[in-house]
Point group: C2
């Protein structure tokens, strides 16, 4: 039985202010909660329907994680999904935001002003797929602990490290030590380039692209070509940010790793 | 001034049954409506705020399109967006669903059971970017006239032709005439393959992948590799369907066009 105050508390975590106040965030769905339980993040409590608890009771008890049986109707009241799954967990946010590291292994993503939670989550998932373990977000990007972001990472939130940092300062401090690969409409065709050094892939926001202060810091301006032989250039003007990110990550990482 | 019956009519178009009953669908946002006005589709009526009408009045009058001035508050009542834009249009659905063509120029996409409107819209936008002009959807895919699909195509709905068809029958009837490139976890690494013939790129659903009956009809099973040198394979289990589609389209089209 879910109390009114529990319902109120969980729903408050859909708002950034309350996530920060309570140092807690929501993880929904079987895939996400499985990954949470297997990650280094702490789980505060799990709310789940009977079937899920039946198949996870041993794991929950060995991990000493508090859990509560709720009905599908109760889950609907706290879920952020249009078709709620079996389970919703409350996870503990890391104490202090870690500053972005001065160096890292392999590739990194830098995301400039991504506003759509689905896009941010999908880009974290894509990074994870290609073995990219750090993502730098400009401070005006959507909050990674937003339930829709967590949901669209499909569990990758537990493996990829996310840092919110002023990208301009960060890039300037790198002092040309590593390449910055930026997706720009006026860049060079990415499929015609050879890459031999790991660095940062920079992706711009859905509506404004990469902001001018960052554009000048790109060492390798790249673009994903359209193929216009059959259409006479009457084509889409842009790609979705997550799709552009996926193609950039694939094309660069396949040459390096 | 928006009447109650207008509000009711427009909101009814968010449901497939009423879109079919009225042969009408919603197009939202400046980009989408601009593309609608420039497409071969008919526009029934435009509802817009003052600023948008001021800059489009000549175009609307030369196209003889009916329009109505509404307030931002009225737009909120009919919009499907969390932050409504300046304009919403009602477009006319093509009379009869066209059967899928027996042959076509260039590449095509085939989408097996895509349920997420954002994914379908993004895949149509990606197809358009790469010059792919036909998309075949299995009958259980989300409806292309769903406002969220139309919105996420960012105007590409006016250029790419969408057909709903039984993919198994369709592929069997092609009788091996053209390659079917399918994204499968057990396929061959796409970046190590050479492609010399246009065909169909087949993408599976978000949760079940490509259904078994279709898997056996794939002539070129392909997979997007993960790069595990730095991570010891502790990585995401799958890519988002739109991202996988983007990488498949890019990798195949860049060799052909």
């Amino acid at each position: 039985m879910l109390s009114q105050s529990q319902t109120k508390f969980i729903n408050s975590l859909k708002v950034k202010k309350y996530r920060q106040l309570h140092s807690s965030f929501i993880v929904e769905g079987e895939k996400g909660v499985d990954e949470l339980l297997n990650s280094t993040l702490s789980t505060q409590k799990v709310y789940a329907c009977e079937e899920w608890i039946d198949s996870h009771q041993d794991q929950l008890e060995s991990l000493k994680i508090e859990y509560q049986l709720i009905s599908p109707d109760e889950l609907k009241k706290i879920s952020d999904l249009s078709t709620p799954n079996q389970v919703l967990a409350i996870a503990v946010m890391p104490d202090e935001p870690t500053p972005a590291p001065e160096s890292f292994e392999g590739m990194a993503l830098a995301l400039d002003g991504i506003r759509d939670p689905g896009n941010l989550g999908t880009m974290i998932r894509t990074a994870d797929w290609f073995g990219i373990r750090q993502v730098f977000c400009s401070p005006d990007s959507v909050d990674v602990f937003n339930p829709k972001v967590v949901q669209s990472t499909m569990g990758s939130f537990g493996r990829v490290k996310i840092f919110y940092t002023d990208l301009e300062n960060y890039f300037v401090n790198l002092q040309n030590k590593i390449p910055i690969y930026g997706a720009l409409l006026e860049g060079e065709e990415i499929n015609k380039k050879r890459f031999d050094k790991a660095g940062i892939i920079l992706i711009g926001s859905e509506s404004h692209g990469i902001r001018p202060q960052l554009r000048s810091l790109i060492s390798h301006p790249l673009r994903i070509p359209r193929f216009t032989r059959l259409t006479g250039e009457n084509q889409a003007e842009s790609l979705n940010a997550s799709v552009a990110n996926g193609i950039m990550c694939f094309e660069i990482c396949k040459q390096l790793f």
